[in-house]
Symmetry: C2
Subunit: 339 residues, 2 copies
């Protein structure tokens, strides 16, 4: 049995999307059990009249909610009764609970998961690894995408190990092609951080390091994992998403401004909706926080039921593949390489 705790609040469509997603995941995954955190009365009202296997659902009462605008460190101290903090305390204290799924405050999650749930021994800092769709029909992970803005070469090596294991375990990608985000493909390119990290990455036994990559090739399908500091990773992902959406908007406007053919426009509309869905990160699961002692999945704040269910499925796959234990071994192996 895989047991996950579900933070039922903190998203744009909470708790409906969270609880609806939880019930969908329970239907799909017979050996999954869930603990729902949040206001018990509201959760019970939301569950009422819905059919689900009640033996696999517990509720943990937590009357407060951490808002997205709250300062993380203050939220951790002052909102101990929030759905997020109760969930974090549960994964910390209860060995039978394997991980947490939330769409609440990112900052509070990173701080609480790091400080309260704890890191895998040797992990310097947990890192986010969201997935993007490639134009070749696959996926590409970016680690780190924003949890750590000031990083060291050693941290980049850990991101490479943790991201590779994640893609291999949860998505079956054999020997993921890991590349260092840089301003050119030549080995000597980049700032001090990249120049120092390059040979260290190349020396990692368990990482299929394929060298530097340029940001323009993110969606090319030539890479499975992008290794980067959180600042550049964040710039990379947001500019790629932003450019695709702006481009779609412009094209749509340009097309509609030129033809009054209603059939054509309808055809176009369907296609544009499909492209938008293709670009919608909610369809690729949440961003996982790698390096914690338990599995941590952070979905987008605007997640709907289906997106939330995907995040739960993602956490389930990670646990089913024993990712935490493998990461523990992978991180320990870096230290051995260096000795």
């Amino acid at each position: 049995m895989i047991k996950l705790v579900i933070d039922c609040f903190g998203g744009d469509h909470s708790p409906g999307a969270n609880i609806g997603g939880a019930l969908a995941a329970l239907r799909d995954l017979p050996d999954l059990s869930l603990v729902l955190t949040g206001d018990e009365g509201i959760i019970k009202a939301e569950l009422e009249g819905k059919s689900y296997d009640a033996s696999r659902v517990e509720i943990l009462h937590a009357p407060e909610v951490v808002g997205c605008d709250e300062v993380p460190t203050i939220a951790i101290r002052q909102k101990k009764d929030s759905s997020l903090m109760r969930a974090i305390e549960l994964i910390r204290a209860d060995e039978s609970v394997h991980g947490i799924v939330t769409i609440g405050s990112t900052g509070a999650l990173v701080a609480a998961a790091t400080l309260r749930a704890g890191r895998i021994p040797g992990v310097k800092r947990p890192a986010f690894c969201p997935l993007l769709p490639t134009m070749a029909g696959g996926i590409v992970g970016v680690c780190d995408s924003g949890a750590n803005v000031d990083v060291s070469p050693e941290m980049l090596c850990q991101f490479a190990v943790m991201g590779s294991l994640y893609l291999e375990c949860a998505y079956g990608i054999k020997r993921p092609r890991a590349a260092l985000l840089n301003i050119g493909v030549e080995a000597e390119k980049g700032d001090e951080l990249r120049k120092t990290a390059y040979p260290k990455l190349a020396a990692l036994r368990d990482v299929n390091f394929v060298g530097n990559m340029e940001s323009r090739d993110l969606l090319s399908g030539n890479y499975d994992l992008v290794v980067t500091d959180g600042f550049a990773g964040n710039v990379l992902i947001k500019s790629t998403e932003g450019a695709c959406l702006e481009m779609l908007k412009k094209l749509k406007k340009d097309i509609y401004s030129r033809t009054i053919n209603k059939i054509g426009a309808l055809l176009m509309k369907r296609m544009f909706d499909e492209e938008k869905r293709f670009m919608d990160y909610r369809n690729y699961g949440g961003s996982v926080l790698l390096g914690c002692k338990k599995i941590v999945v952070k979905g987008h704040g605007s997640s709907n039921e289906a997106a939330f269910a995907k995040c739960i499925e993602q956490a389930y796959r990670m646990q089913a593949a024993d990712l935490i234990e493998k990461t523990r071994e992978g991180i320990a192996a870096i230290a051995e390489t260096e000795e």
Copy 2:
């Protein structure tokens, strides 16, 4: 009379594109005169039979060419007779020459312009400022886009001043809205560099600093100038361009795979060509290297005649607006603010 030196070699379509572009610029700008550097025989052969005002054209013989793959510092020392190095020596030594236009090796240009042509007093490092089209129909500059990967808060302040003056002088943008590229809009976001730079940028008298911006908003039209280190700036520009082009490719494939309507396909083709032209940075002039004692414009290596002519026009506008002198004053004014 505005006098510029034209490096006739080093691009994909050199010297044809360079010399063709030069003649086009001479036709459009009556008070422009040019010095063409490169192999005299080849240049003369290229000019033969073309009509132009010969009194405004000189040739400076330089038999060598700096290749794109050459190590900049070595190229500087060993290729003194190259079209690029001769051009740089000319702007260094000849007071009557106001600037250089080239589509050759970026690395060699930055090194040579910085070391040989020299910086404006007080400028820590020259910075690139390319322009991108916004979805609102305007332009946005990004400074620095890759000349400097390791920067200080003081350098970011200089980029803000130099970029603002450039947009104001060469493009008539009044009080350009300058934003700091960051991973969130709140003032306290980012790494140590950004956190330290923010209040310094806000304190600059001559910069219309509007706060932090996220990379997804680059094309929104809400900003005129993005202030950034060269690493993140490079990631920003290349991922935006890459995503737009990949998106166009995908859309094109999806559309053509679905309809056999030839008229529709033709209509689409025209539109896609237009979108591609919209995204083609060659249509927005070159990337200027700000902070040198003379005007430096670096066009894309794949520039054609029209793109090269645009780069010359750009250098011309910068000189006509007396940008170097204004930058000198702007940089000096930062020092005053700090006192």
